[in-house]
Amino acid sequence: MLYIVNKKGDALINCIDTVSVDDVILLIEDAVYAALATSLPSVLSKPINGVAIYALMPDMQARGIDVARCYKHIQYVDYAGFVDLVEHNNPVRSCY
């Protein structure tokens, strides 16, 4: 199952509450801020067992987010990769 999350507040928290092994999370739009390593613990501070977490690179670049400042367990895709994630996972759940 693919979760597409576009905000880092409740939308992401609710998503994390229900993910399980083999799920994939894609952070888009303002949710990419959740990829940033913060000084306080944040919802994505730690890897989630068996869950792949991606962030949409064009939305990262739009916001000037440097990959070097992000959690190491986050992976990155462009829009073509976004399409691939949709192709290879089903169902698709949008969290917004």
Binding site: D78, A80, V86, E87
Partner: protein, 130 residues
Amino acid sequence: MKISIQINASPYQYQAADTAWNFIQAAIDKGHEIYRVFFYHDGVYNAHRDSRPPGDERDIVKRWSGLQVEHGVDLVVCVSSAQRRSLLEQSVASKVGGYENALADGFRIAGLGLLMEAVIESDRHVTFGA
């Protein structure tokens, strides 16, 4: 594969219409079929002809119209969402004295049945919201 798309948010105020558009371009580039784009909730504001953004900004409504012309993508606006949100079908507008030309080129107004048909026929359904 066949992908249907649903847009639930108004243009400009939210990134949903932009993200969806970029996603659709990439999907078409990869050879997938966009079975239908269905505009629901505030998403219907994407179909208002009179939107006039400043010249140095993207024109979201025109961009959708272009998608229909270039790739034949079916753009469907939900009739009941639309009535609440000031977008009347031509026949209704002419009856009540509203704007008969409100719908931008390339869109059509129809019921939720067309969303269901799209979802049943498609391998994937991706929703973009506020």
